[in-house]
C-alpha cells in the first residue's frame, strides 16, 4: 500500500490523543483547573489534528459529513460517529474538570470507552479488508489498541501503568510482524487463483495492460519503500518501546519523560509507515507484483 502521509499522521496522532483521553476520563491523573486545561488541550489537539489529516486524502472533503450516514455497514462511518461522541462527551467532562472544579465521573468513563471505541473502529477499517492479508488479522486491532494505551499512559504521566502497557504493545508488535510476514502466503491467494489458471500450470504476468503506471499501481503496489524494512523495524521498535522503557526505569525527571514521549511518537510513526508500506494488496498479483 502507498504510505500516504495523511493516513500515517492520522492514525499515529489520533491514536495517541484518544489514548490520552482514555486515561483523563478515568481521572488518571486527577487534574483540575489550568493543569487539566493543558492535558485536555494536548489530547484534543492530537485527536483533532489526526482526524483533520485524514480528510486531506479525500477527493471531496466538503462532502465528508455524508460519511456519518452508513454506520450500519461501514467501519469508516462508525469511526466518524465514535470520534464525534468521544470528543463531545470528553469535551463536557473537560468543562466540568477545568471550569467547575467538579468530576462528572460517569461522563468520564463513557468518554474513555468512546475514545477506545474510536481507536478500535479505526483499526477495523484496515482489519476488515480481506484484500490485504497483512491487515486482515486479529492482531491489527490489538496493535492499534495497545499502542494507543501505551502512548496514552506515557502522555498522561502514568509511569507505573506506562511500563506494562509498553511491554504489551512491544509484544503485540513483534507478533504482528511475525504473523504478518506469513499472511499473504497463508491467505492462499496467488496469481493462480487470481486468474483461475493456476490448475493449468505456472502463471506468469507476461504483459501489463499499459506501458505506463496507473492509479492501482500507485495506490496498492509500493515496492521501493520495502527495501529497508528490516532496518526500519529495528529503528521503530527501539524508538517506540526500548528507549521509553529505559527512560522510565531511570530515576524520574520531566526531561526523561518528555524524551520518552517524543521517542515513542517517532517509533509509532515509523511502525505505522511500515504498516502501510509493507501491506501487500492482492491486486498487485495481477501485475506480477506484490
Amino acid at each position: 500500500m502507498h504510505p500516504a502521509p495523511s493516513v500515517i499522521i492520522f492514525t499515529t496522532l489520533s491514536g495517541l490523543g484518544f489514548g490520552l483521553l482514555f486515561f483523563l476520563g478515568l481521572g488518571l491523573p486527577a487534574v483540575s483547573g489550568t493543569v487539566a486545561f493543558i492535558f485536555f488541550a494536548i489530547a484534543f489537539g492530537l485527536a483533532v489534528a489526526g482526524l483533520l489529516a485524514s480528510t486531506f486524502h479525500l477527493g471531496h472533503p466538503e462532502r465528508a459529513w455524508k460519511a456519518f450516514t452508513q454506520w450500519k455497514t461501514s467501519w469508516l462511518s462508525r469511526e466518524g460517529w465514535c470520534a464525534v461522541i468521544a470528543l463531545v462527551v470528553m469535551g463536557l467532562y473537560a468543562i466540568s474538570v477545568i471550569f467547575l472544579d467538579q468530576r462528572w465521573g460517569v461522563l468520564g468513563v463513557i468518554g474513555s470507552l468512546a475514545s477506545l471505541a474510536t481507536v478500535f473502529t479505526t483499526s477495523m477499517i484496515y482489519t476488515q479488508l480481506k484484500t490485504i492479508p497483512r491487515w486482515n488479522m486479529k492482531l491489527t486491532p490489538a496493535m492499534f489498541l495497545s499502542f494507543s494505551l501505551a502512548g496514552g499512559a506515557l502522555l498522561a504521566g502514568q509511569m507505573r501503568l506506562a511500563l506494562p502497557f509498553l511491554l504489551i504493545a512491544a509484544l503485540v508488535q513483534i507478533l504482528y510482524w511475525r504473523q504478518g510476514d506469513k499472511a499473504l502466503a497463508a491467505s492462499g491467494t496467488d496469481l493462480g487463483t487470481a486468474t483461475g489458471l493456476g490448475s493449468r500450470g505456472t502463471v506468469r504476468a507476461f504483459e501489463p495492460p499499459h506501458t505506463g503506471t496507473n492509479y492501482l499501481l500507485r495506490e496498492f503496489v509500493h515496492v521501493v519503500g520495502r527495501k529497508h524494512a528490516e532496518k526500519l523495524r529495528v529503528i521503530a521498535f527501539a524508538l517506540a518501546f526500548v528507549l521509553p522503557v529505559i527512560l522510565l526505569v531511570l530515576p524520574f525527571s520531566h526531561f526523561f519523560a518528555l524524551l520518552a514521549i517524543l521517542s515513542h511518537l517517532a517509533g509509532v510513526a515509523t511502525s505505522r509507515w511500515l504498516f502501510f508500506a509493507q501491506a501487500e494488496h492482492v491486486v498487485g498479483l495481477y501485475y506480477g507484483k506484490r
Binding site: L58, K66, S77, G80, K130, T189, G196, R200, P209, Y215
Partner: protein
C-alpha cells in the same frame, strides 16, 4: 444504501472467453470512448501526450503466460473489469452510501455526487475494478453500460455493453447469469465457467471461460502432406536445357 440487497431479481453480467480473446484491447478503447462521455464524470487522462501518461480505465487487458508441467507454454489474454459481485465488499465499506448494488439487476454503481473519494472501496476490491479519477476526485467503475442496455434511443443491437458490442473475436458475452436458461448461463455450464479469487468470498457474477487445450505439435504437422503431389517438377524444354547449362558452368 450500502447494505447489499439480500437477492437481486436478475444478475446481469459478463462472460469472458479466455479461449477466444485475442488481446486486441478494442474493448478497452470502446469502454473508455463510451464511458468518458456518458455516465458520470469523464475518464480523465494525466500527461496523455507526455513522457509519463496515466489515466482512468474501467476495463484493462492483461496477458499471462501459463507454463504447464509438460508441453508448450500458452499465452492467455485476460480482460478484467468490475465483476458485479453478489457479495460486493466495495459496497458495504462505503461510508457515504455512494456505492450501491441495484436490487433489480445486480449492477454495482457509484452515485458520484455522494462520493467523497476516500478510496476505501478500491482498497476492498480484490480485482482492481475501481479507480479514483485524478481530475474529478470520485471513484469510477464499470457500470455494465447501464446507459446503453436499457436505452430505447439506441438500435436494439446496440443495447449491450460497449465492450461486448465491440469485441471482434466474440470473446465477450452479456446476459442474465441468474437465469439458468439464459444463453450466458448455458455457456458457463457447458464450458466450465469460473470465478476469479473465489477464496475472497465475493461471489462474482461475471464468469471466465477457461482456454481450451491447444493442439499438441507433432513431428508431422500435416498428415495429408505425404499424399499430395509435389508441386515443383523437373523443368522441361528450354528451361530444362538452361537449367542444365547453368549447372555445368
Amino acid at each position: 444504501m450500502t447494505q447489499l440487497p439480500t437477492s437481486t431479481d436478475r444478475k446481469m453480467g459478463l462472460v469472458i472467453d479466455l479461449d477466444t480473446c485475442v488481446g486486441c484491447h478494442a474493448c478497452v478503447i470502446s469502454c473508455k470512448g463510451w464511458n468518458t462521455e456518458n455516465y458520470g464524470a469523464p475518464l480523465s487522462d494525466q500527461d496523455a501526450y507526455g513522457g509519463n501518461p496515466s489515466g482512468t480505465f474501467l476495463n484493462r487487458v492483461h496477458s499471462y503466460e501459463v507454463q504447464p508441467e509438460q508441453g508448450a507454454a500458452q499465452l492467455i489474454h485476460f480482460p478484467k473489469s468490475c465483476l458485479h459481485c453478489e457479495d460486493a465488499p466495495c459496497v458495504t465499506v462505503c461510508p457515504t452510501g455512494a456505492s450501491y448494488k441495484r436490487a433489480e439487476d445486480g449492477i454495482v454503481l457509484v452515485n458520484e455526487s455522494d462520493c467523497i473519494g476516500c478510496g476505501l472501496c478500491a482498497w476492498s476490491c480484490p480485482y482492481g475494478a475501481r479507480e479514483l479519477d485524478q481530475a474529478e476526485g470520485v471513484m469510477k467503475k464499470c457500470t455494465l453500460c447501464v446507459d446503453r442496455i436499457y436505452n430505447e434511443n439506441l438500435p436494439e443491437v446496440d443495447r449491450i455493453p460497449s465492450c461486448v458490442r465491440t469485441c471482434p473475436a466474440g470473446a465477450r458475452h452479456f446476459g442474465d447469469l441468474g437465469d439458468p436458461e439464459s444463453d450466458v448461463s448455458k455457456l458457463v455450464a457447458e464450458r466450465g465457467g469460473m470465478d476469479l479469487m473465489p477464496e475472497m468470498g465475493t461471489k462474482p457474477v461475471n464468469k471466465y471461460l477457461p482456454p481450451r487445450p491447444k493442439d499438441k505439435i507433432e513431428d508431422q504437422i500435416d498428415i495429408l502432406a505425404p499424399l499430395l503431389a509435389p508441386v515443383a517438377d523437373e523443368p522441361k524444354g528450354f528451361m530444362g536445357w538452361l537449367d542444365k547449362a547453368l549447372e555445368k558452368l
